[in-house]
Symmetry: C2
DNA sequence: TTACACAATTACCGATCAGTCAACCATCTT
DNA sequence: AAGATGGTTGACTGATCGGTAATTGTGTAA
């Protein structure tokens, strides 16, 4: 299997797991949906867990790249970029295929904190927090780390609620809450 | 099976699902862990889904009763009660068995919004929002509903992050964020 | 003691789970 | 053209999935 074929497999597996859930999607079904036979899959991944970890790595990369691009395209101003994060999230919530966050769902199904899948999910959030705190620092926040963690709470809560109740009522509240935290933490 | 026996079964099933996940815990294992044979379980619940719904009903009742009691015991002041919500949550996060929110996990495994399990999870959050907005209204908030939804974002985000990263770094940030939203929305 | 009703258990159903294996087939080398 | 190689496949493993049916107690009334 070529490298591009492998990437394609991981991408398709990512879509399947995202739509269907990790336990609910079996390897047989995955083989059918990806068009790659089970044996061929196991040639490149020792176990289902390995494949899941690969999909999470890809998701982490794709999501953060997407978010970084969106915010950096919006404005050079770090404070504006912090606000732009939530415009990007709002667009995401309104995409037809939106079904919460891959990593929240992963940690829901693999609950033990020392499980590799759980640990990777935590790592994803850590990387996002770091991005937030970098922007906050550039914007002159006195406590960029704490602020970043607070802002992340709003982001994660909004994802959960957009999935549960739909994006309509969440998007506005999320932006309001984020703005309140930003106004409180950043010098005007 | 007596009514109390049935309640006991639902409580034990609740614990199993909470600890292990819905798809991951099979009916055979559940029978073993509850001490009730599979046939006896199916005497009272048509399907696994029915049993899950019963556990969620119980969880909703227990969680909201617990939260209401905690906040009402803290202070008669509605604004103080809003703050007390997050003291209660902090204690919850630090319990040894804490593993996120049953309903967030349920909606992670049953993702379709019209699935009964997903719908019941959404209902739980709706009831909590209603409680928040009632307190906010009593505290004289100009937009109690919007405020309640914003506050819920912090709560849900904190649950997710306490599960992913541990309670240590989350508890303080959660209280800070909640206080910021409360200060912004409520007349001093 | 016998007959009946009911509750719970064991054993089983087809389907699917994660994972493996022997056979196969296309391509490249000699 | 023969053989080797690497990738792919369908068929298969034992275990477990959600759910059911036949059977075995167990308690009560006559």
């Amino acid at each position: 299997m070529s490298a591009s074929k492998r990437d394609e497999l991981v991408q398709k597996a990512l879509d399947s797991f995202y739509r269907g859930g990790f336990h609910a999607i079996g390897m047989d079904r995955l083989a059918k949906e990806t068009g790659v036979s089970k044996t061929a899959i196991y040639k490149h991944f020792r176990s289902k867990e390995d494949l899941i970890l690969a999909t999470l790595r890809l998701r982490d990369e794709q999501f953060r790249n997407w978010l970084y691009r969106r915010t950096e395209a919006a404005t050079p101003d770090p404070r504006g970029r912090l606000l732009a994060i939530f415009d990007a999230l709002a667009d995401w919530f309104e995409e037809p295929g939106f079904k919460s966050c891959m990593f929240i769902k992963a940690s829901s199904e693999y609950q033990n904190r020392d499980h590799p899948i759980h640990a990777m999910s935590a790592e994803h959030k850590k990387l996002l927090t770091r991005y937030f705190s970098g922007l906050a620092e550039a914007a002159g926040a006195p406590d960029p780390q704490g602020f970043a963690r607070r802002l992340l709470l709003v982001k994660e809560g909004a994802i959960v609620m957009a999935h549960l109740a739909g994006p309509q009522l969440v998007v506005g509240d999320m932006k309001d809450a984020a703005r309140a935290l930003i106004d409180e933490a950043l010098p005007q």
